[in-house]
Amino acid sequence: MPALSTAHSVVAPSSTSRWIAGTIVITYAVITMIPLVWIVLTSFKTPPDSIAYPPKVVFEPTLEGYCNLFTTRTRQPPEYIASLPPAEDVCDEIARSRNMVIAGPSNVVPRFVNSIVIAFGSTFLAVLLGTLAAYGFSRFKVPLKDDLLFFILSTRMMPPVAVAIPIYLMYRELGLTDSRLGMILLYTAVNVSLAVWLLKGFIDEIPREYEDAAMVDGYTRLQAFRLTVLPQAATGIAATAIFCLIFAWNEYAFAVLLTSGEAQTMPPFIPFIIGEGGQDWPAVSAATTLFLVPIFVFTILLRKHLLRGITFGAVRK
């Protein structure tokens, strides 16, 4: 093993301060992770275990929560259950042990699909419109530019729910309530202001000379934008997409108000997963766990960009 360097660096943190920093970071991470871990654990508990007091940390894991999430069940007399052929799968078995039979699939899959279509659709639209608008604001002389930008920002100065009633009435008139299109448009409208402001910052950082050079070299403005600005703004676009997606994915209030069936997303669906005798906590936890997966994967895929993205522009080159 090579000898440790004994040279003292003024800028590199000492081992003590690194140790303290590490401890703080780990402590913070643990504190923030506990609820998530608890949700994941609960999803593998039986309903009685999930509400046991004192809380059970050690328990026998079961897939009951997941089974209950994906199916609807009916209670049957034990004689009837005994007369059935042997259980086909694990969910069947669990249901029968509770004197129930599986009646059919639950609504969770269509709701999940709704969430994916609406969140990703609105994110795509918001980022697309945001990029174009931000480019315009960044590069062209737009009359009343500052006022327009302020106006765009001002749409975020109150909680979006403050305008819930007018939007509800408007949507009812337009026939957009409980439709995927309606939700995509709504989330796009809310997110586009964020996207414009974030992306304008990123695009402002890209020197105009690149587009100038491309245009002199025989490209149109749009081609120059696509070939020189977009690749360099990729980081910002990724970061913006994550922020937009997180909002659209988690949005609850509008989803409760404007969707009830067809276009219902996961957030309003999850709390109303009712089992026998009240809330089916393991099923709720299972839904929450699955609900976390797409955004988790998306964020990991774009993590590299995100880290650069949120600190981008902090240091002038």
Partner: protein, 344 residues
């Protein structure tokens, strides 16, 4: 290749006149240098020619065709920017190929490859073709930038201080290189700089800009020896021309109306205090190695002259000083030739 004609060009930014009624003919195959300090309108002039800015007034024609209202892509100019000219997300090869891949040109992959490799050879960057643009040193980047312009055969090359961000040695290497490339290819080149050495060494003709106006245009020698105004005279020459109020040193045939006399080293004869027109005192002797600057005090005024490094000069010694055909300027800065009255 083609000649470029600017007629009465004007451009205003935020109520500030950047280019003011500029007319200029750049001849086919000429290395034309626009010289002026920051804010004189050099870059704006280039951008007007390239089509990156629209003039408020006036016209631009390239090769006899009026392109005042054409898109940049249609003008067929090549532009070398002061910096940032390379696309950071592309390799050196792709940077060089970028102008050739324009949908306007429809070149085959093979043709592009041949041209790129040829140009890479010219700017000595062949060994770095596969590197990302961001991995190059400053000098390499600017060579690629110049290469990206050379890869085409445009009507005119426009260069905006391409060497200003480089260190001194590289600058002098690339200066020679540029001049050689221009002579080999017979390209028409409009080069913008605030560096008088670049202007003097490379230009076939120099245009001096002052506040957006073209104040004088001519060969480097003409402009150095025969400046039209104090402003032009101070643009060229190291050390800078010394400006003395008229009458401090007797200049012989001083034309009427002279208020300022411009004195360069070659206008001064140092001699014996008793036999010279005025008495002076050597202040400081600044030895820069290749050059020696002599600070001379005359009647409370300071002159900076270039001295022969081999002459033994000591500070604080009295010398005699007379003038030989200095430059005369009127109060408004305009040149007055000996034997001519100042314009009223």
């Amino acid at each position: 290749m083609a000649d470029v004609r600017l007629k009465g060009l004007s451009k205003t930014f935020n109520k500030r006149l950047a280019v003011d009624d500029l007319s200029l003919d750049i001849r086919h195959g000429e290395f034309f240098v626009l010289l002026g300090p920051t804010g004189a309108g050099k870059t704006t002039t280039l951008r007007l020619i390239a089509g990156l800015e629209r003039p408020d007034k006036g016209s631009v024609s390239i090769g006899g065709r009026d392109v005042t209202h054409s898109e940049p892509a249609e003008r067929d100019c090549a532009f070398v920017f002061q910096q940032y000219s390379l696309y950071p997300h592309l390799t050196v090869y792709d940077n060089l190929a970028f102008p050739l891949k324009s949908p306007l040109r429809r070149l085959s992959k093979e043709d592009i490859d041949v041209r790129v490799r040829e140009v890479a050879e010219t700017v000595h960057i062949s060994h770095k073709l596969d590197s990302k643009a961001t991995q190059l040193s400053g000098g390499e980047m600017q060579r690629v930038g110049i290469g990206r312009a050379l890869v085409r055969r445009p009507n005119i090359y426009l260069m905006d201080e391409p060497l200003s961000s480089l260190d001194a040695r590289l600058r002098s290497d690339l200066r020679l290189e540029l001049k050689r490339i221009q002579q080999d290819t017979g390209a028409t080149l409009l080069y913008v700089t605030h560096d008088q050495i670049e202007a003097m060494t490379m230009a076939s003709r120099i245009g001096i800009l002052e506040n957006g106006r073209l104040v004088q245009c001519g060969t480097p020698r003409e402009i150095y020896e025969n400046p039209a105004s104090v402003y032009v005279a101070t643009r060229l020459g190291t050390p800078r021309i010394n400006l003395l109020p008229a009458g401090v040193i007797p200049a012989g045939s001083e034309p009427t109306g002279t208020s300022v006399i411009g004195v360069r080293t070659e206008h001064v004869v140092l001699g014996d205090p008793s036999s010279s027109a005025s008495k002076a005192r050597i202040g400081k002797v600044e030895r820069l190695g290749d050059q020696t600057f002599l600070h001379v005090d005359v009647e409370g005024h300071k002159l900076v002259l270039l001295a022969d490094p081999h002459v033994a000069l000591e500070a604080d010694r009295a010398v005699g000083l007379s003038l030989r055909a200095p430059l005369f300027f009127a109060a408004d800065g305009a040149r007055i030739h000996a034997g001519q009255e100042a314009r009223q």
